[in-house]
Symmetry: C2
């Protein structure tokens, strides 16, 4: 142990500079989606790529290795040590792959993704397959190199980018359990809902009124409009920076619940970002823990809270105020509209009950695909079989609503899909923990006493940034590591209770 | 002469990279004004400053001097040689001042500008004076250093940043002439207008309708919405990049002409940027020639064209369509509303006839101020005397509508003010040249045949970028260098004709 922290400080300085530059790339990326006119695209891509190159140069500076090694010997406090752990993790990810492979990946994914935009509507699996083979070859090579360096399984090495420390062993065990009870639960939930009458809202719903409604819901959920905005983009996302969160949604005049619930979802991401630890902002330790944790926040907002029967009582007056009064806006009916269970082909349109089926299917295909147990040609048959098995739907020949529906594979994002359902499970686990310390949680929600929920999330998740591993964070927050029993209990209470 | 262009190519590569990075800083700067919520400010400032530091490092790389010197010996064509001239000019500006002075300037101006925001409404000249002395001291030091390097007068050295090659000799001669006839012309124009009756439009004017009106005017003026946008900011400007021009305006419900004419003004800047030479984009030779030339485009649009009696016939139907019919929207009345002459204290509110008085006053104060002939304490008395002399108005004790009204001095932008009126003069000169080749120009405007005007501006100004010096550009476009007689003739025809 040395008494100075020279090397650690050099690393802190670097990450402060990277944080500043990432700010510009985030805002320019948001602008690209929300504002940019078409002729600006080429210049924007060149500008973002220039900055990415500069940042990559900073991240792969050969001097860093020595700083990291020496900093390990310096006299750091717990928070600094956690930061150093995350700094090393980021360094490892930036330096893990040879430049030639990074470039090959860039070429393969942009070619595949670009062609996919036309191939999907054209149902052109064969055309897609051509490009996808190269994307997969790159993904396998990345997985192999990363696995060799870290001593984990190839798929684990890819998953680690999004959910550090997560393993196939855990995912397979958890998804394996869910797989056992999910089809039956879907059946029973549907049978139960078949008994209920649901009134459909009558449109059109003016876009300005919908926007006002979404902003009111965001305020109800504590979004800080002094540190963020809501705008429109073709594909809703939560971007920007912790100091200035840029959420987007999209509006259709014939429907309002999709954008409302989508906005509530993004507000969960947004509040996580807005409440990351301020004093450490710019350092890796102050970043959101992982993709599953991030999704656990958006799903805490959208599913645990936003789709709660008590929350419908808070939403109903806002909906009426924005869109006028209708019988369909009565809280019980609104809640039924929000929680309808219906197996469908499209993941992003799925309800919270059928959603895990879409994820399990993808995981069960991409894990063996990455690890070389199956080949791309095998995917459609597997997709059909699993869709039949999990949701009872036939997708034979319908590639565009099947294997071609997601952007993840064309972009080579193998290992990302599990995060969605792990997030849903963590969200249920957080609310189970909250209920233990607040037995009247459900009546509080109905009364609009949401502050204790936000405080729990802030204290246990948001303010913790990346201080702990996911397992430690989960243990500290809820007394246990990931436990899918809470997710099952949540679905049973809501859909069968 | 060597047959390779290695050194020139290295310089081209550098400027390509700077162009990409400037893109991000422009878009983030626009976003700061048009979108950013207040809590994002500190992070944005840090991010922009980080990037500025990176770019400054690239611009002051010691290797550049050798590249520039060697490139002079390389076998370059005319366009490349013009580019090299501009590259050298940019290099000189980036490397002219010691880092300590740049930092001192940054501190002095941000302190002065920040305090000025409160001092102006409080009419606090004494408080302002304290900070302004340091801003001026820095400005004088900059002027001295730059003048020593280039062998010109100190004020010329500052003006050269905005209007390359412009000298006090020219400005004093030109402004001296205008000074002779302007007060009399103002008197006569006002006497004439006193005979005319003008109907005031009746508000309120809905913001959405005004926005639609402004966008229609922009379309009429050929703005490419595939390569730019119109948004709202507190202080209207034309930002973004040539590939994606971001114009802003602001709306008040009780008034529509200010934002409409302001938008027409910014459209002139916007079309210049949108039509800079594409194949050279990113290189200094492809940038707009100068601030006066830029202003000659916004004033060509706002004053020469937008305030033309024939143009009022084109505007009237757009105004009626957006805001409903009113007697005040009749073309002759609309034109009278647009061209009313009224001496006032505030430069930015001034009409085209009294505007030069505001500029001459500032020039006659800041030139001797920078060159040490007078001191900051002398400014208010001089301001009062000149305001009386030029516009017949008394400003004694009214600092907030006098010396404190502009952001330029708190920000240390000495040498900028002349560009506004030089731009007005160039605009009159361009339209005089157009009239020589198109004797029926005025009737064409009234008939909406604006394409020949845009083509003239594109061929003579926009597409030329920085290929020529201002003098050469003017000579090629209009057969003469700056000649203020055209401005006088324009005002006489419009206001006394």
């Amino acid at each position: 142990m040395t008494s100075t922290t020279t090397h650690y400080n050099a690393l802190v300085g670097l990450h402060q500079r990277l944080h500043h530059l990432r700010h510009l790339s985030s805002i320019a990326g948001w602008d690209q989606a929300a504002n940019m006119p078409p002729k600006g695209n080429e210049a924007r891509a060149a500008a973002l790529s220039e900055l990415a190159g500069l940042m990559h140069g900073m991240r792969t500076d050969p001097a860093l290795k020595k700083h990291i090694d020496e900093a390990q010997q310096e006299n750091l406090d717990d928070f600094q040590r956690a930061n150093l752990r995350e700094i090393e993790r980021e360094w490892r990810m930036a330096n893990a792959l040879p430049a030639a492979l990074v470039q090959r990946r860039q070429l393969a994914t942009s070619k595949c993704e670009h062609a996919w935009r036309r191939q999907r509507p054209a149902n052109d699996w064969k055309g897609f397959l051509e490009n996808f083979k190269e994307v997969l070859a790159v993904g396998r090579e990345e997985a192999r190199l990363l696995a060799d360096q870290t001593g984990v399984r190839p798929y684990d090495a890819l998953m680690d980018r999004y959910e550090p420390g997560m393993t196939c062993d855990t995912v397979s065990r958890v998804f394996g359990e869910v797989r056992q009870w999910l089809p039956d639960l879907i059946e029973r939930a549907r049978a139960r809902q078949a008994q209920e009458s649901v009134l459909e809202p009558t449109g059109p719903f003016a876009v300005n009124a919908q926007r006002a409604l979404c902003e009111k819901a965001m305020r109800l959920l504590g979004f800080d409009f002094e540190a963020g905005r809501l705008d429109v983009s073709a594909h809703p996302f939560c971007g920007g920076v912790p100091e200035d969160v840029r959420m987007t949604t999209r509006f259709r005049e014939d429907e309002f619940l999709v954008s409302l619930m989508g906005t509530i979802h993004e507000t969960g991401h947004g509040r996580y970002e807005q409440n990351l630890p301020r004093t450490w902002l710019g350092q890796p330790v102050a970043e959101a823990r992982s993709m599953a944790l991030h999704e656990s926040q958006s799903l805490s907002f959208e599913m645990q809270l936003g789709s709660h029967p008590g929350f419908a009582k808070l939403l109903a007056p806002l909906v009426r105020e924005a869109l006028g009064d209708q019988p369909a806006f009565e809280p019980t009916n609104l809640h039924r509209l929000i929680t309808r269970v219906k197996p469908g082909l499209i993941r992003v349109d799925a309800d919270e009950v059928t959603y895990p089926a879409h994820i399990i299917l993808r995981y069960e295909i991409e894990r063996p695909l990455v690890e070389g147990e199956i080949e791309p040609e095998d995917v459609p048959a597997l997709w059909n079989a699993k869709m039949k098995e999990l949701l009872g739907l036939d997708t034979t020949g319908n590639f565009k609503d099947g294997v071609l529906q997601d952007v993840h594979w064309p972009e080579g994002l193998f290992g990302y899909f599990p995060c969605y359902s792990l997030g849903a499970m963590f969200a249920a686990q957080w609310f189970a923990a909250m209920r233990r310390s607040m037995p009247d949680l459900d009546s509080r929600i109905a009364q609009g006493q949401l502050q204790p929920i936000f405080e729990w999330l802030r204290d246990n998740i948001w303010s913790q940034g990346s201080r702990w591993t996911t397992d430690e964070l989960s243990l500290r927050a809820s007394g246990e590591t990931l436990n899918p029993a809470h997710f099952k209990a949540h679905l049973e209470r809501r859909y069968l209770g």
